[in-house]
């Protein structure tokens, strides 16, 4: 069945088009003018000149926590890889020379193209070796393979600002837990 829709005929003001076009652009123009006149009230950030404020508990790029001697805390148990729903963590374990440490990763790759940033790996880690508190959210690489972050990349995170009062935290290097370990292991404390 065909239903005929009768449209209201336009009057001459509407048929002029100019006023109707301006009416359609009203919201856009309003925000454009707001950006020109009252810039500081805009809810958006002019990326990339200004970077958005990312909270510390945001699940951003991973980092590997370090031992006092600079080796990763990771014991290559594979819990993160087992918990990972995207299967983006690849770990190869090896024995270490250090008599205090039995097992260490020889390879620890996270594929950030596959990662879904769910944070389950961080929760699964029994030794708090993996964290996602780097606040780094942009990933720009020329090649696909570069998105796979190897162990070295995950270890070399420079904490520009990190809360010192966090007793659990280990600003790499430093932190209270590391201090204890340094004392117990008889290593030089800096």
């Amino acid at each position: 069945m065909v239903r005929q829709v009768k449209q209201k005929p336009m009057n001459w003001v509407e048929r002029l088009y100019v006023f109707e076009a301006l009416r359609g652009l009203f919201t856009t123009l309003k925000h454009a003018l707001r950006g020109l006149l009252r810039y500081e009230t805009l809810p958006t950030v002019p990326y990339p000149e200004m970077k958005p404020e990312i909270p510390r508990n945001y699940r951003a790029r991973h980092r590997l926590m370090l031992r006092p001697d600079g080796m990763p805390r990771c014991v290559a148990c594979g819990m993160c890889a087992a918990a990972c729903p995207a299967h983006c963590i690849y770990i190869e374990a090896a024995e270490t020379e250090d008599p205090r440490i039995e097992k260490a990763p020889a390879r620890f790759d996270i594929d950030h193209l596959v990662c879904v940033f769910c944070g389950l790996c961080v929760e699964a880690c029994p030794v708090d070796a993996l964290r996602m508190d780097t606040c780094e959210t942009s990933y720009v690489h020329p090649k696909r393979d570069d998105f796979v972050a190897p162990m070295f990349d995950l270890m070399t995170w420079d904490p520009k600002t990190y809360p010192q009062n966090d007793s659990q935290s280990q600003m790499a290097p430093g932190g209270t837990l590391n201090q204890q370990a340094l004392d117990a292991w008889g290593m030089k404390v800096n």
Partner: protein, 528 residues
């Protein structure tokens, strides 16, 4: 050794949780309860080791003259009419097992994340079954290791630790901390291996496993102690930190390097074999596997032959003169049937030889018969000569073409000199071995770990191999498929080849891959 229930065990009536059940009457309580589906957690008990009864994990309550008392199920023989109470009805059994479990874990380190046994650990299983205690460990005490004083140290938390990665032998690493002193390994070396190399030293919580001073744990079966160890105390160096066990898939198969045909699990992941584990078969290898068979997997992917075209082999076979078809020891029944098919196709020109130049050794009575020709009984079954390579060497001048299947003839220098006289040599081989190098035409085929098939072991037991998905090249084919194509009657799958073998040996006709049990079937009335 505990007496295990068999199909012929007399049935007796006992009362489990006040319910009458029929159980095998000639065994211990633990096995009897298992036969009716009641699992009892245990650590030191092993069906193929003498009962030691030291872990006290398998406690049940038995009604006795002085009322109900706790007994260990592994050392209590079944008697008719006995009354047994399991945790299903008895709170006392439940708490006793829980206490035992807690006691066992008091100084057991929290190594599960880095322990190779995690995932197949008896302690983990028992914890889920009988433990689940809240930790009562006070942090100011921590774990205290009292074992071998030579290996004690204080860790960063101030706990007394010790005995991590003790190099106890060429193939095994011992972690004394993880040991729960079940003494399974000691009993294995004493009773099964017959070479008492391990000992429990010291007493009470100072007990630790050690070898004699200056000696190492070194035996053909020493890697079996890593299987029977209920914790991660004994770990094999070959598999140490290689792969978490829950990532491995298992394929049941047969070790084709010995005519006993030890039952194995092929543990594979990512298209690669990571380890071979013994698969329990009471009538063949029980729970044991020799180091040679177990470590054979390390060469499965080394120096493999690529897949190729069959046409050059066809052309070579079409040449004038007699053809010697040689089947090696790891040929399955299917391969042999296809080889026989090829011999029939070639008619008078062809003659089949089988065997290996490797010496036949004495059986060790554990998991090896000493005969390197694994499927010798299968060869006899199909009416092939079983081991007549000497004859081939004598009559080498008669032949102008030599086709070897899974058989490294040229490894033996003497044989290589004599066989070199044959002008055309064809090799169907998984590996790029001496025979392939000496041959004029060679083609890669699947290794036995990658094929489905059957074999008959030296006791006349028909066992089946399953194909693990570990072939390095999808183009590779099993030897029977290549041989059948050469015989111009292509076989598309192993079951067709087995159907062919059924026609050649009547005794096989009763079986199919579905009816051969995972532990094999004994062939009746077979003269071996």
């Amino acid at each position: 050794m505990p007496k295990l229930p068999t199909e012929n065990s007399p049935k007796v009536e006992i009362f489990v949780d006040d319910k009458a059940v029929m159980v095998p009457g000639d065994t211990n309580l633990l096995e009897a309860l298992k036969a009716v589906g009641i699992e009892t957690p245990h650590v030191c008990y092993h069906p193929y080791l003498p009962v030691s009864g030291n872990c006290r994990q398998c406690l049940v309550e038995q009604e006795g003259p002085r009322g109900r008392m706790l007994v260990i199920a592994c050392y209590t023989p079944v008697s008719p009419g006995m009354k047994i109470y399991t945790p299903a009805s008895s709170e006392r059994v439940k708490s006793a097992r829980k206490a035992t479990q807690e006691f066992m874990l008091v100084n057991h380190p929290l190594d599960c994340p880095i322990c190779d046994k995690a995932g197949e650990c008896t302690l983990q299983e028992n914890y889920m079954e009988a433990g689940q205690n809240e930790s009562r460990m006070r942090p100011e005490y921590g774990k205290n290791y009292h074992g071998n004083p030579a290996h004690q140290f204080i860790d960063s938390k101030g706990q007394v630790r010790g005995g991590k990665r003790v190099d106890i032998g060429p193939r095994i690493v011992l972690d004394e901390e993880r040991c729960v002193q079940c003494d399974r390994c000691v009993r294995f070396m004493r009773s099964i291996a017959g070479d008492e190399q391990l000992q429990l030293a010291s007493r009470a919580d100072h007990t630790y496993i050690t070898t004699f001073p200056g000696e190492k744990l070194d035996h053909e079966y020493d890697l079996c102690v890593t299987d029977i160890c209920p914790t991660g105390a004994m770990t094999g160096k070959h598999f140490r930190f290689q792969k978490r066990v829950w990532l491995l898939s298992r394929t049941p198969s047969i070790s084709m390097d010995d005519s006993l045909g030890a039952n194995i699990w092929i543990d594979h992941a990512e298209g690669k074999v990571w380890r071979l584990m013994p698969r329990c078969n009471p009538e063949v290898n029980r729970s044991w596997l020799s180091n040679t068979s177990r470590l054979a997997y390390q060469n499965f992917l080394k120096d493999r032959m690529p897949a190729g075209d069959v046409a050059p082999i066809k052309q070579t076979l079409a040449k004038e003169g007699k053809v010697a078809l040689v089947a090696g020891g790891s040929c399955t029944i299917e391969d042999l049937a296809a080889l026989k098919l090829l011999a029939e196709k070639l008619g008078e020109r062809a003659e089949i030889f089988t065997g290996s130049f490797a010496p036949v050794l004495a059986a060790d009575g554990i998991a090896k018969s000493g005969d390197p020709v694994a499927n010798r009984a299968g060869m006899k079954l199909l009416g092939l000569p079983a081991g007549n390579l000497e004859e081939l060497l004598k009559r080498v001048s008669e032949f102008s073409v030599l086709l070897s299947v899974h058989c490294d003839l040229f490894e033996n220098e003497n044989a290589a000199k004599i066989l070199g006289a044959i002008p055309e040599k064809i090799a169907l081989s998984a590996f790029n071995n001496a025979t392939v190098k000496a041959s004029t035409v060679a083609l890669g085929v699947n290794h036995w770990s990658e094929v489905q098939g059957t074999m008959v072991n030296c006791n006349g037991m028909l066992q089946k191999l399953s194909a693990a998905p570990v072939s390095p090249d999808a183009e590779l084919r099993p030897a029977f498929s290549v041989l059948a194509e050469l015989a111009e009657t292509p076989l598309s799958c192993a079951c067709e080849a087995f159907a062919l073998a059924k026609k050649m040996a009547n005794v096989l006709s009763a079986y199919s891959y579905e009816t051969i049990r995972s532990t094999g079937v004994m062939l009746d009335g077979v003269q071996l």
